[in-house]
Amino acid sequence: MQAYIVRRLLLNLVVLFLVATLVFVALRIDPDNVVQLAAQGTQITDIEEAKRAIKRTLGLDKPVFPDQYFTYLGDLLRLDLGESFRTRTPVMDEIKNRIGPSLELGILQLLVALVVAIPVGIVSAVRQDRWIDYVLRSVAIFFLGVPVFVLAVFVLLGAARYLDWSPPLTTYRDPFPVPPFDTSAPEDLWVNLQIMAIPAVVGGLGTGAVIMRFLRSQMLEVLRQDYIRTAWAKGLKERVIIMRHAFKNALIPVVTVIGLVLGTLVSGNVVLESIFIIPGIGLYAVEGVRQNDYPVVQAMVLLVASFLVFVNLAVDVVYAWLDPRIRYA
């Protein structure tokens, strides 16, 4: 097992290196455009002067290989992600400030997803092909198909129209909100939860639908096993058979799905954060794109990609730990 983890870690390093290289290449496809866009945002009035300044700070005036490439890799190794074109603050500091709300939203969504998906998946498998199964599955298909941002907008609309309630922040009335946004997170827990409520529930249900479908098919598989029949024959209670014998075994493959789902959660949160003006890293990325702030976008891509690479490793390790039959060679 240790050998496996070490090997996977090394392989992950290779993948991260490739990720960094891809991002490096992306900027060099059309550097003049980037410089042009960046120069338009600076205080310097002479555009040529501004372009030269930008080129110098980005190091674009040196040869691409080896100078630029190794400077870039060296900066990454020192966790120096450069500084924003607009605010001139180091991107790393900004990320530290903004990671909190994103984590909060992600964890809340995962909680909602699990709380909904686990009971629904079990009921739907145990009552296979009864009316309740059909109802639950149709609802799951609905949440799988309808995109989170459409659902979020509709829920906002419905809540305002019929319940006369809106989340405390009103910035989302702004059509194309212009950064910088107010990024100070509300201190009051109750206000905070009110802001998070709709995105957490909407995003959580979308994720929950995926988990529920997978859990249901796993449960159906397990319920047909011999040892379940044995358990029935022994006269065990239904609750014990389903929870202790079936559910526990069906849960193991679901762990991998949770890992996969984390990737979509991150993407979904980019959208949800920008609808609800939650000052997390997703919103930061969107601000970066809207302002052509290339270092910010690049840092976000690197950050999220490396996060996902390690989540995948963690999922594999947890999987082996839960199911001792799995032996990674």
Partner: protein
């Protein structure tokens, strides 16, 4: 008249009508079976066909390079037949003011938007943009992904290992962020968007193709071809590639939904980095500003995005069950 009747009688004797149902009836029978067995899948396919019909318009004979959204197939496509108006036509009411936020009427089926444009027309033009963007992106992505998967699995070994790590690297980017990055680097253009979407689609396509090729590679007929002296290219394209067709069709239909969703999400999140033609995502973003007083724009655009994504998902699921049930757990 007499001889003619005689020949008709002879024909009947040869082929009794019960055995030779007319072709149309057979087609309807197949359709009816599909509806009964996979009602959701049939619904999805109906939505997909509906979208296709919405986006079609009279072809004009100006051939050239394909360009989105108005020249998706290399020739200029005129106003969609079902659109009624141009998406950027402004309408005025009888007092000469811009007719903003009008309710549904015979003139404007879904009413008008915040700048006095016909919502139905914008929805229909947006359908063309979404659909053809998706088709182009997936065509490129599927071809590239299939080639990568085929070559990588066929030659295996160190080459395969290296290629798969590159694919891991691409896959570890969340699609939305990579698209945003590409768009922040370039001028807004649908062509760039299509290429970026294709790039994002490559890893998942190649993974499925690769798994099929890995098993087919060991078949006896592949060995036989090799023994007969067939070249690598011949074995790959003539003997192995046909096995990949069914999964690729399934990926294509499921992927179209995902691509349409991604385009809408990007237009919604960052309207300034996409071309400003009529688009569902842009309408949703614009409509959000006024939705509490005039929900029409949000309801129409959001409804169509949801319907399209749902439709492609359902159609893709049904196609998968029919064509290749092994893919179910992917």
């Amino acid at each position: 008249m007499q001889p003619q009747e005689a020949t008709m009688g002879a024909e009947l004797a040869v082929a009794p009508p019960a055995l030779q149902r007319p072709r149309i009836a057979r087609a309807f029978g197949g359709l009816w079976r599909l509806v009964r067995r996979k009602p959701l899948g049939a619904l999805g396919m109906a939505i997909v066909i509906g979208m296709l019909v919405l986006s079609l318009g009279p072809p004009k004979a100006e051939f050239g390079l394909p360009d989105l959204p108005d020249r998706p197939l290399g020739f200029e496509m005129g106003k969609p037949w079902l659109a009624r108006y141009h998406p950027d036509d402004f309408f005025y009411n009888e007092r000469g003011r811009l007719a903003t936020f009008e309710g549904p009427s015979w003139k404007h089926w879904l009413g008008t938007d915040n700048r006095g444009r016909d919502i139905w027309a914008r929805i229909v033009w947006g359908t063309r943009r979404s659909l053809f963007l998706g088709i182009w992106a997936l065509t490129l992505g599927t071809i590239a992904g299939t080639l990568v998967g085929l070559v990588s699995a066929y030659f295996s070994g160190l080459f395969d290992l290296l290629f798969q790590r590159i694919m891991d690297a691409i896959q570890s980017f969340p699609a939305l962020l990579i698209l945003l990055m590409v768009l922040s680097l370039t001028e807004p253009s649908l062509r760039v968007l299509a290429i970026a979407l294709a790039f994002v689609a490559i890893p998942s396509v190649q993974r499925i193709v690769r798994s099929v090729v890995l098993s087919v590679r060991e078949e006896a007929y592949v060995d036989a071809a090799r023994v007969m002296g067939a070249s690598h290219r011949r074995i790959m394209f003539r003997h192995i590639l046909p096995n990949v067709i069914a999964p690729v069709i399934v990926i294509f239909s499921v992927g179209l939904g995902a691509v349409i969703l991604a385009e809408a999400a990007i237009s919604f999140v960052s309207p300034s980095s996409v071309p400003f033609t009529a688009s569902w995502g842009l309408m949703l973003a614009e409509g959000r500003t006024v939705m509490f007083d005039h929900p029409g724009m949000v309801l129409a655009s959001g409804g169509f995005i949801a319907l399209a994504v749902l439709g492609f998902n359902l159609a893709g699921d049904a196609l998968r069950d029919i064509l290749d049930p092994r893919l179910r757990l992917m």
